[in-house]
Symmetry: C2
Subunit: 666 residues, 2 copies
């Protein structure tokens, strides 16, 4: 039996640990299944009772009759392991586990979870959870969950499905949608994702006939590779995937060994990851719900310029509250055939006029999307502007509606017609910004194509000369340099030069006095090297580099992220990238064209673009260096953990790396 | 008769232009007054009807009987001017004008408005509007407005009053509040503010016994001085003032003549202004409503360190959605007596436990505020966590509640008990951030205390030598300099020096080739000066400056803003302030201590604070320069429009201005 069928359309459900006390959490699945008219058999399993809430109960799964497709486990402690054995014996294909105390409960729990999953694999039983609130399939009338919001009398059906790492928030989204006329197909609480994860569910939903849009509430991503594949599959099936992810303000793990590590905080890496997968990322909780009609049936706009939105409104202040925020996202407000940036019908609104203006804007080639704002009339006089919106001639262009008063019936009316309507100006702007930033999934690079040279170090940190050699081998120009050795420290690099004590152990060279810049001649060189080696007794050799100068400094970094995989970063040089978080980040590898796009997003590299009449730098050469470093992702086995060229000096022609850091995984 | 009485508690209201067609806008005031049980006399004025909606009507105000306290004018065109004359004759003290076509309608309308106000002054009639939607006083049962949301059956009474420049949004706020159990006292639509403005209304509300919190919906500020005084009066009366202001993404007028002009865009100046007045500024529309119970009865926390919030929740995901955003505002999450930063009762919540934890947190000296989050139970089982919140022991500490599901009854229950409850995690975080950023109004500096020297230029731009002289006279150290004159261009400044062609007309000196840095000796000086004067034939004299170097560069600017008055700015030097909008801005003048606080907010001046082990710069000397420049605000008549020292070079000891720009108002 296929997983999707067992999960969402089981012919019989066993409720292991079902309580006979209707007030208890563990009585809810049975109550909710009945309340929402589940058509299959319900089998409460309770060793202490022959009857549970009016239903015949069984002391154990072993004794329950007939074929069972799905077991929902609420019993505490070792009963979970027992239930798994029973499922194996009874050939129950899937078991959803509400019980906690696994990976959610420290190291011991993690080990317990690993044993559970290993045993499930042996038995051929699939597991949702543990610590999952369960599964809801509204068209299929399955309410197999402990979430209290299922107390609602009718469940709102629709074509949006939700996969959530938080069971409570799954309920919150369902509850908020129901109040607004937004309907759902399938809702799944992932819990710990011990076995069935977000990626597999997105795969299932990509093939689900009832699902048109897939929403993800994420706290983290546990299997980035699988979710990436699944998102591409959903894209091919024409089903947009939208994510709300927590963790925007945390910089994540202790990756502060290099600048790149500290910069490429977990959240920026997730941004790059979602973009790469073609997943729309929203910033606000309600946007996750409200955006569904905006993306449903649409493809990524793949814009490579600022988006232009046309606005029609019956309230100047209401329109401004959205337009103001659109401006903060760099979205332009345009009004075809009008001088004002907004078509304001405040004093002149009639239903006919509203429809006419809206149809004009939806048909106009001069804008990429339309925002319709309705003021006080939305609450008690929907015929004035809300109904004209319903009647407007839909186009491929996205239409977003913001209603200024409390107007739930109008919101529901719009939702019922598949029109994206927003309760707050902020979510409305967030959704439009997320829509216009939406891009098709990037074609993934082919498998590893190059080898790590056999005679190169495979562990620890490379010293700087080795790092520069690696960069050169990737095709990144590096400053002319030589290694000067004792006793004479001879070298042929032309003066002025920089001298650096060579040591892979030295983390902060400048602070340790291991760097001397701008040495003018041999006499100076001898004096400085002597002094430097006195300060850094561990070093014997000296890296001598030609002094380089240019128009701008950049940092180019690479990191093999523990969650999302290899990423590449380019930022303004010096301390700017760090102080201002001014960098662009993508999954690696990137092409030269993609690197150019990244560079265009870095404010501090404005100088390269001829800022204030200053000479232009060779952005293309920098882009080539970014693309080159990103190819570390193509080395078989991906042995490099982190690499950073900082600074890369960008000149009028060319760019050259003058300092390098490379850390291997081992 | 006092204005407040006539505006909010008129004994009789004349409705000039009242329509007999109940479906028309102009019939609404009469319908709403009746519907919401206005106790005074209603006098429809309509030259075409003897009866309007069942009420005896009068052909003109002149013929209407008895004393009339408030006239509401909806009649179009010249009828407004006629109504004013009639009000004057009948001694009607206040006239609210809904009719548009005044300052809202171009130059001609502006002139018309000016004439209207001038005549009103002569007649002793006060005007609200034109283009105002009117006035609502809920405790006083006055619904004198055309706003359609007044169709609602009962108006929610409360202690919050709203003053709005958008009539529609006033209705939107009332409507949203009503749906949530948030009640109001007085609501005023300002319209064009031809006569009665936001400042005067805040003054009235500061004295209004029914009003505890004053909310402002602003598109701009028309009389900053008066609103500033009124906000201070409200503060003294213990009534918090909160503002939502549009225009965040616009940089305002064409003030790009200098960096300071371009930087200190309208919105940053408004931020400084609100802070100065002790007005709480919120970022999101619904925060404006939802924050009222959070500030009611409280004083500004005046925190000078990061705020610490303790969190109790029944849902990890729900708490994280708020906490994540608090982190983005720099607010710390703390959990007294617990290892986790959040007290998560997800699986362990009982009403007793929730109350106990909440009371502990509210009493704890280790946090500045408490966030209570409630999951699914908030919708159908308020007894589990929502009611325990209602029972908690209130303290001076602010308590914010976020409910994850759609739970309007619980929101109303909390609102009814004066507890701040939020519908979205974003508004919840926005409110807490706004609360913790709230400061007492700053004591305003005494009146102008210095004179502009009589022999100094009073118009146009000063040349750079004059600008440096002005800075020095204010107490800002300037680089050693001299003016070298033809024919010999002799000077006594020690080499190396910089030479600059002196001309007040030259705007972009570097681009024009009018600056030469790092001249090593006299020979070089002669050569460079000759070449420079060849490039800039308008210049005759040359400013010679000692070359200065230091640890960091800053920009210090002053501008007499057309809206909020004198402001002072400090930012990172070079192009950083501009590219990253990295600056701090306050109303001028500021003290040295305030300037220190400003400097601490500029990320790019981190180097001054010993960033990454670099030597510390003399932040105090920079602060002295900021305070000194800000004293331009104290010169009688404030003749300076803009002044900028850029860069100010900050050394290990001292700071010195090396370039100056001063533009006079005339």
């Amino acid at each position: 039996m296929k997983l999707a069928r067992a999960l969402f359309a089981p012919r019989a459900v066993a409720l292991i640990g079902a309580s006979g006390d209707a007030a208890k959490n563990t009585a809810r699945p049975q109550r909710f299944l009945k309340k929402h008219r589940y058509a299959g058999r319900i089998l409460p399993i309770n060793p202490a009772r022959a009857e549970v809430l009016g239903e015949r109960a069984w002391p154990s799964l072993a004794e329950a009759p007939g074929e069972i497709d799905h077991a929902f486990v609420m019993a505490p402690g070792e009963a979970v392991e027992q239930a798994l054995e029973d499922c194996g014996r009874r050939k129950v294909p899937v078991m959803s586990v509400f019980t906690d105390g696994f990976a959610d409960a420290g190291e011991e729990g993690m080990a317990r979870q690993a044993r559970l999953v290993a045993r499930a694999r042996e038995l051929g039983v699939r597991i949702l959870g543990p610590n999952s609130m369960g599964v809801v399939d509204i068209p299929g009338r399955l309410a197999l969950t402990v979430n209290a919001v299922l107390e609602m009398d009718t469940l709102p059906g629709g074509a949006t499905s939700i996969v959530s790492q938080s069971g409570t928030m799954l309920g919150a989204l369902l509850s908020r949608g129901a109040a607004r006329g937004l309907g759902f197909a399938k809702l799944v609480s992932l819990g710990n994702e011990a076995d069935i994860g977000a990626g597999e569910l997105v795969e299932l939903l990509a093939e689900d006939a009832d699902t048109q849009v897939i929403l993800l509430f994420l706290e983290t991503v546990r299997d980035a590779e699988r979710l990436a594949v699944a998102a591409r599959r959903a894209h091919s099936a024409g089903k947009p995937v939208v994510a709300y992810k927590l963790g925007r303000s945390q910089l994540g793990e202790a990756l502060a060994r290099s600048h790149t590590g500290a910069l490429a905080g977990a959240d920026a890496a997730f941004d790059a990851y979602f973009r790469d997968c073609g997943i729309v990322r929203v910033d606000m909780l309600e946007t996750l719900l409200e955006i569904a009609p905006l993306v449903a049936g649409r493809k990524p706009p793949d814009l490579d310029r600022a988006a232009r939105v046309a606005v029609v409104t019956t309230t100047g202040g209401g329109a401004a509250s959205v337009v103001d925020r659109l401006g903060m996202f760099g979205i332009e407000t345009v009004a075809p055939n009008s001088k004002s940036p907004i078509v304001d019908l405040t004093m002149a609104a009639t239903a006919e006029k509203y429809t006419a203006v809206l149809d004009d804007l939806l048909a106009s080639p001069q804008c990429d999307g339309v925002l319709a704002v309705v003021g006080s009339s939305a609450q008690f006089h929907p015929q004035l502007a809300v109904e004209p919106i319903v009647r407007s001639k839909k186009s491929a262009k996205p239409l977003a509606v913001f209603l200024t008063p409390h107007a739930e019936r109008s919101l529901s009316l719009l939702a019922g017609h598949g029109i994206a309507a927003f309760r707050t100006p902020e979510a409305c702007a967030d959704a439009l910004a997320a829509y216009f930033a939406w891009r098709s999934p990037r074609t993934r690079a082919a498998a590893a194509s190059t080898e790590w040279p056999p005679n190169w170090p495979r562990r620890g940190r490379l010293d700087e000369a080795q790092a520069l050699r690696l960069f050169a081998s990737l095709g990144i120009p590096v400053a002319e340099h030589a290694i000067a050795q004792p006793p004479g420290y001879a070298h042929a690099v032309p003066y002025p030069v920089a001298a650096k004590a060579l040591s892979a152990q030295l983390l902060h060279k400048t602070e340790a006095g291991a760097v001397c810049l701008g040495i003018a001649d041999r006499t100076g060189f001898d004096r400085e090297v002597r002094a430097m080696l006195g300060r850094v007794p561990a070093a014997r050799e000296v890296l001598v580099q030609k002094m380089e100068s240019g128009l701008a400094e950049a940092i180019v970094g690479y990191r093999d992220d523990a969650v999302v995989g290899p990423i590449v970063l380019v930022g303004a040089g010096g301390t700017l990238a760090e102080i201002y978080r001014d960098y662009a980040l993508r999954l690696a590898p990137v092409s030269e064209e993609e690197a150019q796009e990244m560079i265009a997003r870095v404010k501090g590299l404005a100088t390269l673009r001829g800022y204030r009449g200053l000479p232009r730098g060779d952005a293309r050469a920098l882009a080539q260096a970014v693309a080159a470093l990103s190819r570390l992702a193509l080395i078989r086995g991906r042995p490099v953990a982190e690499a950073e060229a900082n600074p890369v000096i960008v000149k009028g022609e060319g760019a050259v790396a003058v300092d390098g850091l490379v850390v291997m995984k081992e």
